[in-house]
């Protein structure tokens, strides 16, 4: 039962990481690429670490401090990743990278 939960969470996380990578390759310009990576990487990495946290909780229950450490890692990623995305977006918008409109060339 536990194996199924852990593997399900890990596979979901890897699926979202793949979606993020494919979006980074497929989307037509910088802004839309950040749409794919900013959201999917946050949840994907969060889910992978969450799966490992559940695994740790049941198989190494003598060292629970590591669980707290992993929880803080998830929390930090959920705060820092959108902020980094925002900083990149703002820098690109201020320096005049033109957003892609429907019908433009890919770039």
């Amino acid at each position: 039962m536990l194996e199924v939960v852990v593997v399900l969470v890990l596979v979901l996380g890897v699926f979202f990481l793949f979606v993020g990578a494919i979006g980074l390759l497929r989307f037509p310009d910088f802004y839309t690429r950040l749409h794919a990576t900013g959201k999917c990487d946050t949840l994907g990495v969060g889910l992978v670490i969450l799966g490992l946290l559940i695994y740790h909780l049941f198989y190494y229950s003598d060292s629970l401090l590591v669980c707290v450490k992993l929880f803080f890692l998830i929390l930090f990623i959920f705060i820092s990743n959108p902020t980094a995305t925002y900083a990149l977006m703002k820098a690109a918008y201020r320096t005049g990278v033109a957003p892609w409109k429907l019908g433009d060339e890919r770039r």
Binding site: E3, V14, L17, F30, I49, L88
Partner: protein, 95 residues
């Protein structure tokens, strides 16, 4: 004991899949037109590396890797912020 061996194999497979996603991102980091695409791809690779580091910690059963993952998360975040600031203003320490 058998279960732990099973989990070791699962972790190896998941780690390899994450490595494949990193390879996909390297295309954008090398080719990507313009410096912003490169920085975004490098940030994404760094984020994926955090998950990979934690997985490695479980695969080799070395808890030290979790501290490295925490540090790497902070360094990746600060590096991206500083790079964005530099690209925006043309200098890092403006007063």
């Amino acid at each position: 004991m058998i279960e732990i061996e099973l989990f070791q194999r699962i972790f190896l497979a998941v780690g390899l899949l994450i490595a494949v996603t990193i390879l996909l991102c390297i295309y954008r980091a090398v080719v990507g037109p313009g410096v912003f695409n490169v920085v975004a791809a490098v940030n994404v690779i760094g984020t994926k590396t955090i998950a990979l580091l934690v997985l490695i910690g479980y695969y080799f059963e070395r808890p030290m890797f979790f501290d490295i993952a925490l540090l790497y998360a902070m360094l990746n975040f600060i590096g991206t912020l500083i790079f964005a600031k530099y690209l925006e203003r043309g200098e890092v320490c403006s007063r």
